[in-house]
Amino acid sequence: MPTIKIPPVLRASVGGEREVQADGADVREILRSLVAAHPATESQLFSAEGELNRYVNVYLNDEDVRVLDGLDTAVGPQDVLVILPAMAGGI
């Protein structure tokens, strides 16, 4: 079952866990499984239209799913989804 890494800002909504496991074959199914288990995450992850909220970035292992196939990006059982808030950078 894929693993989801939870950022500090979302941990209170998942009982303090740093990572959780959730079933599904693509990003949407897995995040919906997460929401089913931890309903407080729904309004933080998804917009009213069911899309990823603007300031939520989801990575399949280390690649941003927004530039892959978005919520339809396929996920294997050994994969890790990383949720991170959108942060500004500098360089």
């Binding site: 500090p8 909220n53 300031y55 959108a86 942060m87 500004a88 950078g89 500098g90 360089i91």
Partner: protein
């Protein structure tokens, strides 16, 4: 006496002042890092700009744009959020042009950045490090709002930022290479990626892959109260990116050293992350040129020990804002 021959061509050019010498940086092949003979990896050494970073191009473009628009009123202070390098570049330019400069910078960057800013005469306002660059942007916007004393170029939302690359960096790359299979740069404000992506795709078509290397901010730098504190620079258009890849701080440092040890490139930590992604993309190709941007030099990270200490002995690895 015979004619004197210039041994190293091209020569560095002749300029009326240091600001005019920004750009025209070398493109250096990194043969040892290339995983295959048919794939050539090229480093665009933006570290060779006057203050040692790619941000010289951006700062010049921001200030010249403001001057062309007569946007800076007499006596106004230039105010800008930065993780350091843009501030340092603005410091050099503002000093020469006589503009007072105030920068807002997170308090968890390396001490060299503070010294360099002080050296150029900039006033520094620190923002909370736990909020990363988001905190600097937020505070700068608050300070500038409705305060006529300030002119804020705002690199995160100003098209003059990507334009510096569209009209500079990308054209220089195209001058040297007939084809580019992939272009890899760090994602900060998005200026380097957007400007280069637009020009390279315009000239070479969609075959050129635009790849962003992105810092995986350590948990101490994810100190947001809620996701609503998130920030996406307005100049970023994600549709121009083909890949966006996270790099951890420790991988970035491992590759910063690899650049040094294997290729003799003394670069900053973000460049290590970018090199790592460039080598991965190179491994996925059969042939072609992979160009990546070395965003800054290593001098401003020396005190952190990233070049000399064992990885596990580097203090504040996760709480430092490296880029």
């Amino acid at each position: 006496m015979g004619a004197r021959e210039l041994e190293n061509r091209p020569c560095g050019g002749r300029y009326v002042d240091i600001v005019q010498s920004i750009g025209n940086t070398p493109l250096v092949e990194l043969r040892r890092l290339s995983p295959k003979p048919g794939v050539r990896i090229w480093a665009k050494l933006e570290s060779r700009n006057p203050t040692g970073s790619v941000k010289d191009r951006v700062a010049r473009s921001l200030i010249e744009d403001a001057e062309e628009k007569n946007a800076i009123a007499s006596g106004q202070v230039i105010l800008e959020p930065t993780s350091g390098n843009t501030g340092i570049s603005l410091g050099m330019i503002c000093k020469l042009k006589g503009y007072p400069l105030k920068v807002v910078m997170p308090d968890n960057v390396t001490p060299e950045r503070t010294q360099l800013l002080q050296m150029w005469g900039a006033e520094i306002v620190y923002s909370e490090g736990a909020k990363g660059s988001n905190g600097a942007v937020e505070l700068a916007l608050e300070l500038a709002a409705g305060d006529a004393r300030y002119y804020m170029p705002y690199q995160y939302g100003n098209e003059a930022n990507p334009r510096a690359h569209y009209n500079g960096t990308a054209l220089e790359i195209l001058e040297e290479l007939d084809s580019v299979a992939a272009f890899v740069a760090g994602l900060g404000t998005g200026g380097t990626l957007m400007g280069n992506a637009r020009r390279l795709k315009e000239v070479l078509g969609d075959s050129v892959k635009i790849v962003a290397a992105e810092p995986m901010q350590g948990e101490p730098v994810q100190g947001l109260r809620s996701l609503d504190d998130g920030f996406i620079p307005p100049i970023i258009d994600l549709s121009l990116l083909d890949r966006k890849i996270l790099v951890s701080n420790s991988d970035a440092i491992v590759w910063t050293r690899k650049l040094l040890d294997e290729e003799g490139i003394f670069a900053g930590v973000s460049s290590g992350a970018i090199a790592r992604v460039a080598a991965r993309i190179a491994g996925e190709l059969d042939e072609g040129n992979v160009v990546f941007v070395v965003a800054d030099d290593g001098w401003r990270y020396l005190s952190s020990g990233v070049y000399t200490r064992p990885l596990e002995e580097i203090e504040n690895l996760e709480s430092t804002l490296w880029w």
